[in-house]
Every structure is written in C-alpha cells, then in structure tokens.
Amino acid sequence: MLACARTVHGDYSPVKSAIQIRSSGGLQGKFVADICRGCIHPPCAQACATGALTARKGGGVGLHREKCIGCKKCIDACLVGAIRFDQREGIPIICIQCGACTKNCPHGVLRMEVSSYAE
C-alpha cells in the first residue's frame, strides 16, 4: 500500500493506495488483499455513466479525471471491492496495473499475471 501511494499516487500515506491489504477480524485473523483483478470486461467501467472509466487493452481500466463526477457507482459495481474513494480529490483511486506493489513485496505474495480471458 505504501509502495502504491508512494510510486503511483505521489503520497506518503496509505490512504492513497489502490491496493488494500487488511486483516479480517483483527491481527489474529487472516490477512487479505483487495486487488484490482484487471477485468477484460470491467463492471466499473460499465457502471460509469460519464465515460470517466474506460476499459483498458489487456485488462483493467483507465481514469479520465476531467470526466469523473464522483458518483461512486464504480465502487458499488466492483465485485471484489478493489476501488476506494479519494474524499479530498472527489475521484476514485484506480489501479493502473503497473505492478509497483509486486516489486515491493519482498515475500513473494503478490505477482503480475496475464488474464486468461485476454485476447
């Protein structure tokens, strides 16, 4: 999360991360990662009424900030809960599929892979 915020979103704070690592049920519970799955047919883009989110070749979405009206429909549409809302900017925090998180994971938990649905 810190790597995503630092390298992609230019911020020190994990608030600005597109990937969420959290525990389910306190630290005694399991760790889970909410990761953008890079859908080839992304429901978030389908839910976007203004064209701010568009499907990206190879999977995932691109955000066109100027078109976003902050309606949060993309957040509801995401099945895996991978989109959070940046309250200050009024836009969603979108994964750009750059892989910075995988490069900063020293323990082999995260890795990039090509979607099996990709053409």
Partner: protein, 596 residues
C-alpha cells in the same frame, strides 16, 4: 512534517477533559522521537511527586521519517517509571507510528486523571474522551476486540489498551499495541491505570503529498535495497530473534534457572528453529517495514472433554522464550506459549514477570518465602505452578503478592535474596549473560535496557570486552542510538541507518542535518537523560551488581566483581566529563558551544 517549521504536540488533559494543540518551533532542533520526547518530559515531569501523581505525563513521540522509510516504524514513550522510579522509556511498533503520522501529530502528551475510566479516540479532526467503565477489568484481548468493533478506521488505526495488570498498578504492567506489540518495559501500563486510561485509538487517515518526487524515491530505493541485502531478512524474517536461543546456549550466555546456569539442556527444544518448524503459522510486519519480524506461533489447547480444543496465535521472540523458558527451566514450547498468552492477556511485561518468577522459585527453595505466603510450593519447570503465581500477582491475594507486584528488586529488598535477583538498575535483565558489556550496559544505560547501548553485542564483537574501550564503545553506541531513536528507527535495522544514511534520508525530505550535528544531538540527549535521572533520584554510586552475575559462566568465563566495579568507575568518570560539557544545538563553532 516536510520542511518543518514546528513540531505538532497534542496535549490531552484527562482531568479537565480538554485538549490543546501546540506548534512548537523551539522543539525543531530536537528532531523528533526521543529528542523531542525527552525535552517534553523535562518540561512536564514532576520530580517532587510520585509516579502515580495525576500530574505526571505520558509522552508518545515520532520523528520525521516515520513510516515513509523502510523499517522506520517505532514510537517512543517517555514517562516516570513505576518500576524504577526514574526514567521510563519504552518503544513499540505495529500501526501506532503510521497512525500518529497520518493523524498529524509528532507528539502526544497525556496528563491528568479521569474520574471514571475512559478511552481516547484520536484522529486528525478531534480527540474524544469515551466512557470505558464497561471495559474496566477486561483483559487486553477482549478490550481490543470491543474497541475494534466499536470504532472506525480499520487498517489506518492503532489500538492501545491495558489489561487488569495496569488497572491494578502492577509496576511492570505494559501497554498492548495492536495485539502483538507492546510498550512492555518499565511499567507504562500502570501509569495508564493510575490515570483511569483503559485504551487509546489513534486513527490516521490524512494524505500527505510527496514534495520531492526525484530525490526521495531514489534514497528510498537505496535504503530499501540495503535493508533487503543485509542479514536482516535472514535473521529477523527467517527464524526471527529466537535464532539467538541456540547460539547463546552454545556460548554460555543463555540465562537459565534464575541465572544459576548459562546453558540449558532443552535449548534445542525451545530454539527458534524448533519453534519455526513446529509452531510458526504466520509472520507480520509493522507498517512501513519490508522485513516482517513478528513471528506468530500456534498454541493449541484442550479445555474440556471430549476433544474440545481451542487455538490462539501467540507472538514469540527471543526475550520471551528466555524469560518464560530457560530462565524458569521450562523446556516445552507449548508451556512457553501458554505462559506468554496468560501474561499478555493480563497486560504484564513478559520479561519482568519471568525474571520475578525465577527469583520467587529460588527464594522459596532457599526458605526466604514460605508455602503459606506463596499458597503452594514451586520448583523450576512447574508451568502450572507459575500460572497459579501469576494469577495471584494479579489478584494481589496477600501481603506477599502485593509486595512482589512492585517488581523483583523491591521483592528482594523486602524478603532478602538480592544476591540472586537478576536485576540491574532495578530492572529485570534481558536474555543475555554475555559478559561485562551486558552487565555494565544494562546497569548504566539510561533506561537500564539492553537496547540502550547494546552491551550484549559488544561482548560478542570486541576483541577484549573488559577495558576502557568497552566503556567508550558503550557510550558512543548509546549516543548513536539516541540519534536513531529521534527518528524511532527500528533498532533491528540500526546498521543500515548509519549517520551518513540518516543525513541523506533527512535531506530527501527537506531536513538539513550534518552527521556532526546529529552526533551533537545524540550527545545532548545522553546528557539530558542523565540530568533528568539525577533529578529523579538516580545515582551511579548506588548501582549494585548482584553476586549471581559473578557465579555463572559467561561467553568470557566467570566475571569478576572488582573488574565490574572498575569499569563502572571509568564509566562514571566519562559520564561526568560529558555532563560537564555544554552543547548548544544552535551553536556553529566550538567557542559558541562552550559559551552556553
């Protein structure tokens, strides 16, 4: 925090239920962490009042590199210790440093006393005083669960709480931080209890834009690679700190059965290797640390018939395995985990509790305390007996149990047996019996911790760790650690963060400091701590070395009392000389420095 013009100090008064946010320009030269912390403690502490007087402060402090550089993850707490009566300093990790930074506070100062139990909810917008009556009496785990469910901020917050030990003012009660880390040592939990403060949630959800997008990422990468390329990963992530158990055993340095021995016949069974193979179920990292040294072992327990089982995940470390394993003659991993679980749920410091249990066992065997006082008999290796004693310490069952709840030093003063109390500077020892470095290091270190000056490491690295060089190295190490503790860097990565690296890292976030100036600061903090300790009644001349330290073999054979006393005299001379100097942090020339 960038290009800092001031240090943000949040002051919380529990008596008046009022808060005050100060922007302190004058604290900027002290950098942060232990630097600003010791300055604040000097200002707020009341040497004339006892530890539990409501006016005594609790100070939490972080530095400008917190969370944004690898392994800069700790928070330092400063207070008057209920255990030693003098300087209380304790460090803890997990989420608190991150939460404080992104809630926007460099330091939090808590004073006063709540009329009825409260917990604090602290965010960047507000501080709330919340009713904690229903939580009073609950253990650290249940308190944590309820606060977690009640309050917002999951993932971006830290939850501190005390257990019954802190509420009952037991001198070695700790504060639990996010379940698996603690402000363990020197009794901060009792201080929380004395203030009616059951817990504290810090929620940090501010963003903080990176101003220097060129230099900062570059320096970050450099440090990240250094962290990953040293033996940190191997030692601290692989097996973890418990890798020390076996090697210390082999070098006659593992305190065993109340330090009657320094090697343990069950060392293999309770070694880090054995824990990893049979008990380890996961590892955790503090926020901002790529290493992840926190090792969680599974403790499976049968609580009824037929085949009724429960399990819990227990964090284990070298110090805990020493204190509740070899030191008590316990050679079973399950027994050690079960003791850690009970002690941490009550909210006690595992090291002090273990060392006290060792002393109680020997005092009982020597007839200094009776079966009636204890409520049963006790022998080394008797895990069930130890659980009984721990419960009675918490209950304060009789005069004996009330006395020992003030710590091993106090117990030995009362009942005799100081010769075999494993205590230095009134503080229960850490898990090393390596030589003069550890013996002297813990005695003279500002908070009487093995981490003040790393004496146990000098014992292992110096060619002849018994002369003036040892004394000089202990002092230099403590000054350098003062600098690292201004930034509250995890001391496991201390070798990565040498002064030059710190200078570079600070520069990349807009803070200019030369390594000379950093060392001046480390020296200044060294002096300030000694001055404050003196005000609180500490005197090097009153330090005692219990005979036990000279009866048990170390890495360097048996130590000699005369030699230890000689080294102490040399240390006192050096310390006196340093205290006589005046270092002004703003001065640029030597003449200017002397003029203040």
């Amino acid at each position: 925090m960038q290009n800092r013009k001031f240090i943000k100090v949040l002051e919380i008064d529990l008596t008046a239920k009022k808060t005050n946010l100060e922007k302190r320009k004058d604290l900027v030269p002290f950098l942060g962490g232990v630097g600003t912390g010791i300055k604040l403690l000097e200002e707020k502490i009341k040497p004339e009042f006892d530890c539990f007087h409501e006016a005594q402060p609790i100070i939490f402090s972080i530095g400008p590199m917190e969370t944004i550089y690898p392994a800069v993850t700790k928070v330092v707490a400063l207070f008057r210790s209920p255990l030693t009566g003098e300087l209380g300093e304790s460090h803890a990790g997990l989420r608190l440093g991150m939460a404080m930074r992104f809630a926007g506070y460099d330091a939090i100062v808590i004073s006063g006393k709540a009329k009825t139990p409260v917990y604090l909810y602290i965010s960047n917008e507000q501080v709330e005083f919340k009713n904690a009556e229903a939580l009073w009496g609950l253990d650290t785990e249940e308190t944590g669960r309820l606060l977690r469910e009640k309050e917002p901020g999951t993932g971006l917050r830290s939850i501190l709480r005390i257990g019954p030990a802190g509420e009952k003012l037991i001198s070695f009660a700790g504060v639990n931080v996010d379940t698996y880390r603690h402000f363990g040592r020197l009794g901060l939990g009792a201080l929380f209890g004395s203030k009616g403060l059951k817990g504290m949630i810090v929620h940090g959800d501010e963003s903080e834009s990176i101003p220097d997008k060129k230099e900062y990422p570059k320096v970050y990468r450099e440090i990240y690679h250094k962290v990953m390329e040293t033996d940190l990963m191997e030692k601290y992530h692989g097996i973890g700190t418990s890798i020390n158990i076996l090697s210390l055993h082999h070098m006659n340095s593992l305190p065993t059965r109340n330090l009657q021995e320094s090697s343990f016949e069950f060392a293999q069974e309770i070694s880090g290797e054995s824990f990893a193979e049979e008990k380890l179920v996961r590892k955790l990292a503090c926020s901002g640390c790529p290493v992840g040294c926190i090792h969680i072992g599974i403790h499976r327990k049968r609580f009824a018939d037929p085949y009724e089982y429960a399990w819990s995940g227990i964090s284990y470390d070298h110090e805990l395995i020493f204190a509740l394993g070899s030191f008590l003659g316990i050679g079973s991993k399950d027994d050690i985990l079960s003791l850690i679980e009970i002690i941490e749920r009550y909210g006690l410091d595992c090291i002090s509790m273990g060392v006290l249990l060792g002393w109680i066992t020997e005092a009982y065997q020597k007839g200094l305390i009776s079966k009636e006082q204890l409520g049963r008999s006790i022998d080394f290796g008797d895990t069930e007996g130890y659980k009984f004693i721990i419960e009675n310490v918490i209950k304060g069952t009789n005069e004996f149990y009330k006395t020992v709840s003030k710590g091993t030093h106090y117990a030995a003063e009362t009942y005799g047996g100081k010769d075999f109390a494993a205590v230095l500077g009134k503080h229960e020892i850490a898990g090393y019996h390596t030589g003069y470095g550890h013996l002297l290091g813990m005695s003279v270190g500002a908070r009487h911790s093995h981490l003040d000056n790393g004496g146990y490491a000098l014992d292992q690295s110096l060619q002849e760790p018994d002369g003036e060089k040892l004394v000089d190295d202990l002092i230099l190490e403590e000054m350098e650690r003062n600098v690292q503790n201004c930034l509250v860097i995890c001391l496991f990565s201390r070798k990565v963060y040498d002064l030059d690296t710190i200078v570079k890292a600070l520069k990349a976030i807009g803070i200019d400091y030369s390594s000379e100036k950093l060392m001046d600061l480390g020296r200044d903090i060294f002096r300030r701590k000694i001055a404050l300790k003196k005000k609180l009644g500490f005197d090097y001349r009153k330090l005692e070395f219990p005979k036990r330290f000279f009866e048990t073999k170390t890495l360097h054979g048996l130590l000699k009392e005369d030699k230890a006393k000689d080294l102490l005299s040399i240390y006192m001379e050096r310390a006196e000389k340093i205290c006589a100097e005046s270092v002004d942090l703003f001065a640029r020339t030597d003449d200017e420095k002397k003029s203040i």
